[in-house]
């Protein structure tokens, strides 16, 4: 088991996966700039604490929870002052009206299902990887994704009707 992560490895991860980190963090924070800040802060923390990394999992699996945590903290800052209604996230990347139904449907998903959904579709993670980030079993990830798919399908069908 190696100790610590190299700057080169962290930089490589940043450069190859930045867009996926950014999209996931933006979705969690409900704001692209907040997502950008979250990814930035997560990688600053990763660089600072790189000596604490242990290679039991991948470097990416070590960084993801930092990104998620920072994005969730940013969500606090972006939602609270606006209207205090935490059940209705505010999507500032909303200049595309055709996305409104899916946006509204996603906003109504339970928090954990939303996280799993974002990690899957914006982060591009496999079930095992999501399970590591979220701290559940892969089977739970599959079940939550299934529930999210069902919910979204029903909601979108309602909209189409």
């Amino acid at each position: 088991m190696s100790k610590g992560a190299t700057m080169e490895a962290i930089e490589r991860l940043y450069r190859t996966r930045y867009v996926d980190f950014l999209r996931t963090a933006s979705a969690l924070a409900n704001d692209r700039e907040a997502g950008r800040d979250a990814v930035h802060d997560a990688f600053v923390a990763a660089v600072r604490s790189r000596r604490r990394y242990r290679s039991e999992g991948t470097l990416e699996a070590w960084v993801w929870p930092m990104v998620v945590r920072n994005a969730r903290k940013r969500r606090i800052s972006s939602e609270l002052p606006t209207n205090g209604n935490l059940a209705e996230p505010i999507w500032t990347d909303a200049d595309r009206d055709e996305a409104a139904p899916i946006r509204a449907a996603v906003a109504r998903l339970p928090d954990r299902q939303r996280l799993v959904l974002f990690l899957r579709y914006y982060g591009g993670l496999e079930y095992e990887e999501i399970a590591q980030v979220v701290g559940v079993r892969p089977g739970t990830v599959a079940a939550q994704l299934h529930s999210a798919h069902e919910f979204l399908r029903h909601r979108l069908e309602e909209v189409r009707v």
């Binding site: 450069r15 999209r23 930035h40 990688f43 969500r75 606006t82 059940a87 946006r103 798919h149």
Partner: protein
């Protein structure tokens, strides 16, 4: 990927389109190398956020070293000068012992229509056998929870908190703590710590004698860590409310070994 999943992927792409973006690795390296306390934010928090922070602290803690506490009618907090008077019994919600020091979590309905929550080591008077030990009591009151009598125009929250935050320079055998009331539908509370770790605490119902449909939580904070945020969730994991916890000033100290970690946005105190 199934057709359905592909459809969802396409729809989600519309919500947050995949755009070319390289980030700013040089800035990451620069900020990581900068001293933590002097590192400037790239984007200052907007005024809205700072106001929001003050507004969301629904319970104000009064914290003092036990050696300085006045004791009245057994419970120390009844002697606190600006504490709202009880409208019912002082109810023991939970009790325990950390590092061989007993503690209790109590609450009462206030005459101003709120709830007051107190954490007391060495109950009931909070006196300690060793004044330098740093054992600390705390109390907070709020009316901004469902079922209470919120101030006009106040936003109702699903959670409130009190807590303590020791200064690293004054080691204490008794851990810091976080506790508070929640709305009736809060099943668990996630406490996000500065270290990045997270505590998940199940809430418990108040005894009927309290006369309020609230739930409560209490937990010790791991040594050397501080609370950054508190998240209330329901049985399905849905986030009901979130509070950012103001960090204690690093240079000040309140009468000894601790500083309050929530000191703004009073709801009932000071009236």
């Amino acid at each position: 990927m199934t057709e359905e999943n592909a459809t969802i992927a396409l729809l989600l792409d519309e919500v947050i389109p995949r755009r070319l973006d390289d980030g700013d690795w040089r800035r990451v390296v620069k900020d990581a190398a900068a001293p933590r306390r002097t590192r400037g934010r790239r984007r200052p928090y907007p005024l809205q956020w700072r106001l929001g922070l003050a507004m969301t602290v629904v319970a104000v803690a009064i914290i003092a070293p036990l050696s300085a506490l006045a004791v009245a009618n057994d419970w120390w907090f009844l002697g606190a000068p600006s504490a709202p008077a009880p409208a019912g019994d002082i109810v023991v919600l939970e009790s325990g012992s950390w590092n061989n020091v007993p503690w209790v979590l109590t609450a009462y309905r206030s005459q101003t229509g709120g709830v007051c929550v107190s954490f007391t080591p060495n109950p009931p008077d909070g006196r300690t056998t060793d004044a330098s030990s740093g054992h600390t009591a705390a109390m907070g009151c709020t009316a901004d929870l469902p079922g209470l009598s919120p101030s006009p125009g106040a936003h109702t929250h699903a959670i409130g908190f009190i807590g303590s935050s020791s200064l690293p320079s004054v080691p204490s055998p008794f851990p810091d703590f976080v506790a508070g009331p929640t709305a009736d539908n809060v099943a668990s509370v996630k406490v996000e710590l500065a270290s990045g770790k997270q505590l998940e605490i199940d809430t418990f119902a108040a005894p009927r004698s309290l006369g309020l449909s609230l739930r409560f939580y209490v937990a010790a904070v791991p040594s050397g860590d501080t609370v950054r945020a508190i998240v209330a969730t329901d049985h399905d994991g849905n986030v009901l409310d979130q509070l950012a916890v103001p960090q204690p000033p690093s240079t000040s100290q309140t009468n000894g070994s601790t500083t309050p970690n929530s000191s703004t946005g009073g709801v009932e105190w000071g009236g």
